[in-house]
Symmetry: C2
Subunit: 213 residues, 2 copies
């Protein structure tokens, strides 16, 4: 089972590492981090860490699962035709093509989400809909017939990957992986969505009260 | 605000990257990934990815926050006196010293948890208690007077980091970071703890039904 993550400058690390920690446990999982060049150090959007690419994108033409992370680089790369063509080509070979956070903008820019419901980070709704998708404020949106699954912002990749593991292996496998990561979340606050975050927290992010996105 | 993560071969990536994505947003945050050598590529426990060390451990003597991840390498390195001495020395300078998952075993082996309550991954309870700590099945266990905070397995690092952000900045900052990561978890199953995971899932991990750890 070949799990491919594109690595681009400015990705959000948790968008990738959350799902990685679940999907790596799938039977026969092979992990591919596809950068411009094999061995490239690819810096995340916050600039605090770098992951090494295991493969060059040009050498990666097939995947069982293609998972596209978001980040500032995803917003930039909607204008990178080579990356979009690569996503489209690999998507044609997958069992599932997934995005986390603003990775959905890359699927959208590649034309894969036109006319479909999808989710993304709450601050990227208009950009997502500019690609012809309809934003749905759910944690995970799956279209099995189209082999497409999108997740909400950053931390939603863990929920998305458990959902995928249930479909690719079995619900018992997905539950085992959840237990292995002790994923029994206890957020200290109920501030994880625009609907629940207090005004003071939104103000710190520059979000006006009453804003939907 | 200097946030230091030791990087050792066989760390669990999500133990580090979950807290990283919260703590990097703290005002004035400087991120340090301290490996054997600066620029070293350090492979995770699953073997699927490598992070680059930003600094050599020998050059890192102070931290505002020291966060020790777990992983197979943490279990091995309880026998590495140089790493334990480094942890003890840096701990003497911190505002908070934290562990995620089996990172607690390194704090324990360094003698920091003797006589204290602490948490760790559910499969490391006996090892934790061998260092004189008392396992507490909570998501996060904080001892402000001792500047020590431990988190449960892997994914608990996100909850721990939000807890720390509230103490280091403010509850509003912590809530803003939670919103920025859209941390509004919706686990597809209630399988994230030994108490709630079904027998079939436990069996896949080799855990006998009725086992406490």
């Amino acid at each position: 089972m070949r799990i491919v993550f594109p690595l681009f400058d400015g990705f959000t690390a948790l968008d990738l590492v959350g799902p990685y920690e679940i999907l790596r446990m799938l039977p026969g999982a092979e992990i591919v981090l596809a950068g411009e060049g094999a061995g490239d150090a690819v810096r995340d959007g916050a600039g605090g860490l770098s992951l090494l690419a295991t493969h060059a994108r040009a050498d990666v033409r097939e995947a069982d699962v293609l998972l596209v992370p978001g980040g500032p680089g995803a917003r930039r790369d909607v204008d990178d035709p080579a990356l979009l063509e690569w996503i489209t080509a690999v998507h044609s070979t997958t069992r599932w093509t997934a995005s986390v956070c603003t990775g959905a903008l890359l699927l959208g820019a590649a034309g894969l989400l036109a006319g479909k419901t999808a989710t993304t980070h709450w601050n990227a709704v208009r950009e997502l809909e500019s690609h012809g998708a309809t934003y749905t404020p759910e944690r995970v949106v799956a279209h099995p017939g189209d082999r497409l699954i999108t997740g909400a912002g950053v931390s939603a990749g863990i929920d998305l990957a458990i959902t995928l593991a249930a479909r690719l292996a079995s619900p018992a496998h997905a539950q085992a992986y959840q237990l292995a990561l002790e994923y029994d979340p206890r957020p200290p606050y109920g501030a994880g969505s625009l609907a629940t975050a207090p005004a003071e927290a939104k103000a710190l992010l520059g979000v006006a009260e009453g804003s939907e996105a």
